[in-house]
Symmetry: C2
Subunit: 304 residues, 2 copies
């Protein structure tokens, strides 16, 4: 397998590169910047922007497998400028697909958003066939890219797999505005600062440890069946209050919390039905929430 | 009801304006050009391009109901340049939605594509809840716009209805490359030229006479229920060969046919389950295929 990880400098990308290194015939990481350069040591790095056709073309050249992890927005920022979100993520992804087709790439593995594409779910845990009426432009763009992948297979025989990943957390995650709540909590907890919580903390999410996500990506690249879309999550919902409690236990301390007003993009409850991935990818999440948090704390501590 | 018909100069738009004229408090038509200016006599015409924010803003100003019928591509052309299709139809529609929100419009009625959004249907007749994995970028854009409509209702309380219209035909339709097969057949038949048929003519489509479509648009503008998405079609599949046969009978002549190679965007069979529109819009298609063809022939004859 000759691989390129598009968005290799980000959270999932860095972890994926570390997993694939030495396990594949060739590995390249492509992106605008590396969040944690030390995490990518020894990995071929192509710096470039996915808005430039020539950058993308050289990024995928000579590879048979392309991991597409690039996203320029967050669920909240996409709603503030839906137009920019489409330009970046839909048009950028079309540029990637065109480059893959031209370069004779065999398979694209795309990370979609299990936490947002289903909107406010009618069925819990939510299966892949559920309705997709999102409440953020972020997910509308993800769904459009999913459909272009199917179209490229139909028109051009470019194979693909889509992983609708829930809420991943773990080492190399950066707490950005409105995403990466675990990283944000841990950073503040370790700095002795009060945690910031949107709403009352009752919203439930499907948190999944990054090593399990990265394993599913590797399995998706090798998968031989007819299924194309897989939910990737723990299959269980945990509230933000649960997370705060678990962190407090692990750090053996009290964690003061500052409550902020809830946001329109926040879905009250979301967790995924992962039976398809279990059956067809032979994948199962192995790291519990508490164990994942323990490992993430350990990583954060050795950072500083 | 104070209405503007965006795309008022096109096939559906011209017919809709003719229907609404005198039946609503105010009516305006907006578009780049009028296919049949004589059809829009006496209707306020705003010439403009939906790619220009200021044009769109003045088009919707002072209206409570916006009919969005604009589309810059065809199923075939969208696949040749998916990038341009997204730029025109998705970004253009976002511009319309922003203008509607800013102007305090109450409802947007959007014409989506019942013949393409379901891709190659697994269920026939196809209901609104069926899977949507299209084989043309044209439909991927339509689906994205459908989702933005839902998002604008969620975020900004802009009400909407979506009509997934199958294959409309009738007066004021122009036979363009790859769309409007009935208009193309009739034009050639009346000119004594052989008909051009893509593939063997066995592909079945859901043809619906334009007066029935226009009625459904009016009902959708007035609809008070909770449903948002409606299939609009005859509910029956007719092959292209059926159409040729019906035209031959109506014209009482032999119609020589030239066969061309089938196209990748052509779905073998497509017809819609219209029970939701029947129940919730209290709409029913009233004009049979043969009667619709008869009226269209009559209209075409008085043109020349």
């Amino acid at each position: 397998m000759r691989c390129v990880v598009l968005g290799g400098g980000g959270f999932i990308g860095t972890n994926l590169c570390r997993r694939l290194k030495g396990r594949v015939d060739y590995l390249r990481a492509f992106g605008r910047r590396q969040s944690f350069p030390e995490g990518l040591k020894g990995i071929d790095w192509f710096a470039g922007d996915f808005h430039e056709g020539s950058s993308v073309a050289s990024a995928v050249e000579g590879c048979d497998t392309v991991f597409h992890l690039i996203n320029s927005t967050t669920p909240a920022s996409a709603n503030l400028d839906k137009y920019a979100d489409v330009q970046a993520n839909v048009l950028g992804s079309l540029r990637i697909l065109e480059a893959c087709r031209a370069a004779g790439v065999k398979r694209v593995v795309f990370v979609s958003s299990g936490g947002t594409v289903y909107g406010i779910p009618k069925v819990l845990p939510t299966p892949e066939e559920a309705e997709t009426w999102p409440i953020t432009g972020y997910a509308i763009s993800k769904l459009a890219v999913e459909r272009y992948l199917r179209l490229y297979e139909y028109l051009h025989r470019l194979d693909y797999r889509i992983l609708r990943v829930s809420n991943p957390f773990g080492p190399y995650q950066v707490a950005t505005k409105g995403q990466g709540v675990v990283a944000a909590f841990l950073k503040r907890a370790l700095a002795g600062q009060p945690l910031e919580l949107w709403g009352d903390g009752a919203v439930r999410r499907d948190f999944i440890y990054i090593d399990d996500v990265v394993l599913s990506l590797e399995l998706a690249a090798l998968h031989g069946g007819t299924e194309r879309v897989f939910n990737i999550g723990s299959g269980v919902g945990h509230s933000l209050n649960d997370i705060v409690g678990a962190i407090a236990r692990l750090l053996d301390t009290q964690l003061p919390v500052q409550h902020r007003e809830g946001r329109a993009v926040d879905i009250p409850v979301s967790f995924l039905d992962i039976s398809r991935a279990k059956e067809h990818l032979e994948w199962i999440p192995e790291v519990s929430l508490e164990e994942g948090l323990r490992r993430t704390i350990q990583w954060m501590r050795q950072l500083s």
